[in-house]
């Protein structure tokens, strides 16, 4: 008998805030990644806690919170969560998998403020990262 696959965790927009557009983009990114990737679903189900993604060149941030069978994206930064911060363009290309987050942190283009729980930050990094198979651009270098 075939095992029934669990549906992906729900992705919901939480509290409104200044970064409403950024929250919608991040929520749609996570929703699409979870729909395509059982591995990302597993990580999203197991993770607990919140992560702030801060576009520090625009003073805008969102909070991604992992909970029971859902991921909530709030349009403002939580005060007590670990933070991944950097310019929006760098943040976007790292989230999209076009650049390595480790390389961006090593080059100090992104920085991490690791308040606990740090594991939520690692989970968010994986869940947000777009699979390489999606829409790679044509390299002109």
């Amino acid at each position: 008998m075939a095992r029934r696959l669990k549906p992906p965790p729900a992705v919901v927009l939480g509290q409104s805030g200044e970064a409403a557009g950024m929250a919608t983009m991040v929520a749609e990114l996570v929703r699409a990644n979870l729909a395509d990737s059982p591995g990302r679903c597993r990580i999203a189900r197991r993770a607990r806690g919140s992560v702030v993604l801060l576009a520090d060149d625009r003073s805008l941030g969102v909070t991604v919170t992992f909970g029971d069978e859902q991921v909530v994206v709030d349009a403002s930064p939580a005060a007590d969560a670990p933070v991944l911060a950097g310019p929006w363009l760098t943040m976007a290309t790292v989230c999209a998998g076009a650049r390595s987050p480790l390389a961006a942190v090593a080059r100090r283009e992104l920085h991490v403020v690791a308040r606990r729980p740090f594991r939520a930050l690692l989970a968010a990094g994986y869940v947000l990262k777009v699979p390489r198979s999606i829409g790679a651009g044509a390299d002109r270098r």
């Binding site: 970064a19 409403a20 919608t24 349009a75 363009l89 290309t93 829409g135 651009g137 044509a138 002109r140």
Partner: protein
């Protein structure tokens, strides 16, 4: 200098987009169609209140192939083989202020004043290209404003709240 929202102005924007694409390290593969919906808000003199101006644009390997403004009752599907990949919708005053260099389009999108619909994964993966497109729209074309230039007197000191906190376009 072309008037805003005329064929000449969109030709100039298209040329600016295509000139900018030549400077990019990578471009999105394939074709995609972008729809822009500029909604009359009773403040901008270029779009009547309770109406909207709609535009379609096709991008191929990063370059703008064509754009067209749709008539009010025209079905956008008549011009498409497939579907619209990205849709940008917002108040006319916001679009006008972006074109005048008063608002940063990336800031506007992140704050939600212009709604963006489409596959966010491709959009973020091609963020450098998107920034180049927006830069062309914002800063690359000298525009004339025959009915008056933003900021509009009737809009009050800050009609879009915190949108103006970041100042003029920062080049994304």
């Amino acid at each position: 200098m072309p008037d805003i929202y005329t064929s000449e102005w969109y030709d100039a924007v298209r040329d600016a987009i295509n000139a900018g694409v030549g400077q990019l390290r990578s471009v999105p593969e394939g074709r995609f169609v972008v729809a822009v919906e500029v909604v009359g808000d009773g403040v901008s003199p270029y779009v009547d209140a309770a109406t909207e101006r709609r535009f379609l644009m096709e991008i191929d390997e990063g370059s703008c192939l064509w754009y067209r403004e749709l008539a009010p009752d025209e079905d956008e599907r008549a011009h498409l083989d497939g579907r619209v990949d990205y849709r940008f919708r917002g108040p006319a005053t916001v679009f006008d202020e972006i074109a005048a260099g008063l608002l940063d389009p990336v800031d506007v999108a992140l704050r939600g004043a212009i709604a963006v619909k489409g596959d966010m994964r491709l959009l973020l993966r091609n963020a450098e290209h998107v920034a180049s497109l927006l830069e062309a729209y914002t800063n690359a074309v000298s525009t004339t404003w025959p009915l008056g230039q933003p900021p509009y007197a009737g809009a009050g000191p800050d009609p879009h709240g915190s949108l103006h906190q970041q100042g003029a376009a920062t080049g994304a």
